[in-house]
């Protein structure tokens, strides 16, 4: 038997976009055991949220993650609306849907580029970035910001999409239908990409079920599972969404990286279709249930109850839980990101993988560590967990230290 050696990947590594720690046991080039430890990107956002009123937390929730920002805002606002019993006008639902789908578009295109980057195909990465620019411009045009759009408010949306703006959206849809064909051609027909993705990181349907995989990771393994289809929300019920499975293109399901790629590429096309249907069918009406922020705030202050919302984020099913308890601030807020489920599938996918497959497999679940890290355990193997009071204490001590330094300089 060969000697196994240990190899660590992370928390900082070129293959990872965000900090997470992987620990591999390797023989030669072959991975025989995988362990992972998240917790490096914890920022205590939920604790911050519990010191603010729901209107403030909405913007905070967008900043949980830069790529799934609308998903978090959408889920949080629906959870609060459920807790306080606020109705949302129909037109607002359609506009929310459009933003959710635009976000899915840019997230999946970015992901396609990142996958190419992991396998050393930088030309496709740069091509993906170039193609993604159009939807970023469109989002800036519609919302006023390129990354955190801030179009949601409790009870509706802030920005309308009037008839004059439809023309530009339609142009983008046309552009992305063409881009979909191009990406499909590249990822399905390029020999070197297929050599690196086919048969790599296989997650069987049974394993996917057992490990509760969600989103494109589950659909790549053949699970017919999509929150938009199964627990319809916003305007998806009117439009009718079907989960995209890789068998639509290849006729079979292997559950490998290539299949997950195909699912995401199909969703690019699907998102473009949903946006087009949304602007075709958009009903007339008001944008918010209550235009005055002060009125909404006082209603939320007197509300009592709890709400749960689930959204199909680009990476899978996203949960938010909110409890309001007749207080100015949010009483409890908990977010559970899709990466939490999908990361559990990584050690299974790593079975029989080579070192060269490691970044490809990690990338294939589209991990979003900023969404995932809801708790942080420090002091390594001692397993001591820091709660928000400990963190607050540490923070105070650090500020004191900085204060001393500053005074020392003066």
């Amino acid at each position: 038997m060969h000697d196994a050696y240990k190899m660590f990947l992370g928390p900082v590594h070129p293959a990872l976009e965000e900090p997470i720690f992987f620990d591999f046991k390797i023989v030669g080039e072959k991975v025989i055991a995988t362990n992972l430890k998240p917790g490096n990107a914890h920022r205590g956002i939920e604790a911050l949220g519990m010191k603010r009123n729901p209107i403030q937390v909405l913007y905070l929730s967008e900043r949980i993650c830069g790529i799934c920002s609308v998903s978090h805002a959408s889920t949080f606002s629906r959870a609060v609306e459920a807790a306080a019993g606020i109705e949302v006008p129909e037109r607002a639902d359609y506009i929310r849907t459009i933003f959710c789908e635009l976000e899915r578009l840019h997230s999946h295109i970015l992901w396609a580029g990142l996958l190419a980057h992991e396998i050393g195909f930088h030309s496709v990465l740069h091509y993906g970035m170039k193609v993604r620019e159009d939807v970023m411009d469109l989002l800036e045009y519609l919302s006023g910001n390129r990354v955190n759009y801030g179009v949601y408010v409790i009870g509706g949306v802030r920005r309308d999409i009037p008839k004059e703006k439809h023309e530009k959206i339609r142009q983008s849809i046309k552009y992305y239908n063409a881009a979909f064909e191009k990406f499909k051609d590249v990822f399905l027909n390029d020999k070197t990409i297929r050599m690196r993705t086919e048969g790599v990181g296989v997650l069987t349907k049974n394993d996917a079920l057992k490990l509760c995989a969600v989103g494109p990771t589950a659909r790549g393994s053949g699970l017919n599972k999509d929150t938009r289809q199964d627990w319809s929300y916003l305007a998806y019920g009117d439009i009718g969404v079907k989960a995209q499975l890789p068998s639509q293109v290849t006729g079979k399901i292997n559950g490998d990286v290539l299949d997950r790629t195909i699912v995401r590429l199909l969703e690019i096309k699907q998102s473009a279709e949903i946006i087009e249907r949304c602007i075709d069918q958009m009903p007339k009406g008001s944008l918010v249930s209550e235009p005055k922020a002060a009125v909404i705030l006082s209603r939320l202050k007197n509300a009592e109850g709890e709400g749960i919302a689930r959204t199909e984020a680009p990476r899978g099913e996203l949960h938010h839980y909110v409890r309001l308890a007749k207080k100015e601030v949010v009483d409890t807020w908990k977010a559970k990101a899709p990466t939490y489920n999908n990361l559990m599938a990584v050690p299974v996918m790593m079975k029989d993988a080579q070192i060269a497959d490691i970044p490809v497999i990690i990338c294939s679940i589209d991990p979003c560590i900023a969404c995932l890290d809801r708790v942080s355990i420090i002091e390594g193997n001692s397993g001591k967990s820091m709660n928000k009071y400990d963190l607050h204490e540490l923070c105070l001590r650090k500020s004191e230290m900085f204060g001393k330094i500053e005074r020392g300089h003066q």
């Binding site: 603010r52 009123n53 209107i55 403030q56 937390v57 909405l58 913007y59 905070l60 900043r63 030309s123 496709v124 091509y127 170039k130 620019e133 800036e140 045009y141 006023g144 910001n145 955190n148 801030g150 802030r158 920005r159 191009k182 051609d185 590249v186 027909n189 390029d190 020999k191 922020a293 002060a294 705030l297």
Partner: protein, 123 residues
């Protein structure tokens, strides 16, 4: 193989990149061959928040809704002070201001070397 025609096409075309806009000219202006203008932003862009002190009535609505606590209330003068460094450009304060004393500008290059620069505090 199918990316190759695209690559060849891109080789003869102009690069797609927008050069980074230079807001601050370097010490020796003669060294700069061309100052790149920032690319235009859409009409309802949310840039740096501008504050009109004369219009402000001190209702504290913006302080209540600001997620980043970027608004400081000055109780003596009943006015506010806006800290650009903390601002996250959500412009919620612009929406809630009853007298339109706050507005979004199109300014977005806000990096400064001095954190106490007057550009970073609106009052």
């Amino acid at each position: 193989m199918s990316i190759i025609p695209t690559l060849l096409k891109q080789l003869v075309k102009k690069p797609f990149t927008n050069p980074f806009p230079k807001k601050h000219a370097p010490n020796k202006v003669s060294d700069v061959k061309k100052i790149n203008d920032p690319i235009p932003v859409p009409d309802d862009f949310r840039g740096k928040i501008k504050y009109d002190r004369a219009k402000c009535i001190g209702c504290r609505m913006c302080v209540t809704v600001c997620p980043a606590n970027a608004m400081e209330y000055l109780p003596k003068e009943k006015k506010i002070k806006h800290h650009v460094l903390r601002c996250i450009m959500c412009a919620e304060c612009v929406d809630v201001c009853p007298v339109k004393a706050l507005s979004s500008s199109k300014e977005f290059l806000l990096a400064e070397t001095d954190k106490k620069s007057p550009n970073l505090i609106e009052k």
